[in-house]
């Protein structure tokens, strides 16, 4: 019960406020409730559309294919793909961090990573409906156009100021050949536990590593790293950085 309240602070606080209000000043309470009803009705009306649109995007857009297209030489097309990837992905901005980190290590440019993170944050296709509904379609379109322009300018500035080394040097201190899970990003989907049941286990809605590393299974380990939807599994390869550069 306490945990439930902790997880839903806002709704519980609002219920409490209404309860107090209905005791102290009932007419204010019913006025507030009727004020809210209009917004509630509008919200309920667009919820099914938002839901279905999320489903369509999720089922249709081949994100893995898009992800192969933003290296340093990907040019303008790479930026467009970055914009699309960010716009169609669901979830809050921090869900973009581990995915972008993975893309960086695969050669994505700083510029494209900034575009993905920013678009991920601001341009959510299903959310555009909510914006058009509660503000206005013109408002939504104008803000969208201006934001896209701003994102491209920002990405180009970042590309000049931040060098690849600034970003890549962050967790080099970690031991080589080590497997670990970034707990804050794990959503407990259980895909990793399905691939390697003797390594991973879901406990308290988070994946944990239980087994010892067995190098013969490295193919499956790589698969679990690749398949993790939030890229929360990190595997530092045995090969040193110099080897990577040589290849």
């Amino acid at each position: 019960m306490i945990q439930m309240i902790k997880k839903n602070k806002l709704p519980f606080l609002v219920i409490l406020l209404y309860a107090v209000l209905f005791v102290v000043a009932p007419e204010k309470g019913s006025q507030s409730a009727s004020n809210s009803l209009y917004y509630l009705k509008e919200m309920i009306m667009i919820m099914p559309v938002v839901f279905l649109l999320t489903v369509v995007i999720e089922a249709w857009i081949p994100k893995e294919v898009i992800m192969k297209r933003f290296g340093d030489k990907s040019g303008f097309l790479g930026s467009i793909f970055s914009l699309i990837l960010g716009s169609v992905s669901a979830g809050p901005i921090y869900a973009a961090f581990p995915i972008c980190k993975m893309l960086l290590s695969k050669g994505a440019s700083i510029k494209n990573v900034v575009i993905i993170i920013s678009a991920w944050a601001v341009i959510k296709v299903p959310m555009l409906i909510s914006e058009a509904k509660f503000l206005s379609p013109e408002f939504m379109v104008t803000r969208w156009v201006l934001t896209v322009i701003a994102i491209f300018i920002m990405a180009n500035i970042m590309n000049i100021f931040v060098k690849r080394e600034d970003v890549m040097s962050v967790d080099n201190a970690k031991e080589k050949n080590q497997l670990f899970i970034k707990e804050e990003y794990c959503i407990g989907c259980g895909i990793c536990a399905k691939i390697l049941p003797n390594y991973y286990e879901i406990r308290d809605k988070k994946a944990i590593i239980k087994g010892e590393m067995n190098l013969e299974e490295s193919d499956l380990i790589l698969k679990s790293v690749e398949d993790c939807p939030t890229k929360a599994i990190v595997y530092n390869f045995e090969v040193g950085e110099s080897d990577v550069l040589k290849n």
Partner: protein
């Protein structure tokens, strides 16, 4: 139901039917995922919507108009952008909140600043971002996003 919403209903229903027709399994998987995401937001959505009712009852529109109206746009825009930077609520529920303020007479410039920094600048998520991309990247991105939000807001004010 207005024309806009009706058009969206028709488009999405057609798209969903096509998706279902092409790949049933994939569609249901996507539905499960989407349901979980929306479900986790439900509490917050209802909470925000009922707080809007409270706000509108206790803060008279006249006050919103004077505080956030077009008389002192610069200050209210900076406040809006700062408020957006430190808050972490889904943009999806921010739209009705901001919409209610605009309906009550607030200027759209601070509204845009708030909406844009709300999603692009994340003071709360800076530690996470720093851990992944380092200090330089994080600071540069957040400052640039803040400036961009202000510029977008002012431009919107001129255009609309």
């Amino acid at each position: 139901m207005d024309v806009f919403t009706r058009a969206f209903y028709i488009i999405t229903i057609v798209l969903t039917l096509i998706t279902l027709f092409r790949d049933k399994k994939k569609t249901f998987e996507a539905m499960k995922k989407s349901k979980r995401m929306m479900g986790s937001m439900m509490g917050e959505i209802v909470g925000i919507i009922f707080s809007i009712g409270l706000l509108l009852t206790f803060i008279p529109p006249q006050m919103i108009k004077t505080a956030l109206g077009s008389t002192n746009t610069l200050l209210s825009t900076i406040v809006g952008a700062l408020a957006g930077s430190i808050t972490l609520i889904p943009a999806f529920v921010a739209f009705p909140l901001v919409g209610s303020f605009v309906d009550a007479g607030a200027s759209i410039v601070p509204a845009v600043a708030f909406l844009t920094t709300l999603t692009m600048v994340g003071v709360v998520t800076i530690p996470l971002e720093k851990k992944e991309f380092g200090l330089k990247f994080t600071v540069a991105r957040n400052i640039l996003s803040f400036v961009a939000a202000m510029i977008i807001a002012v431009t919107m004010g001129v255009l609309l």
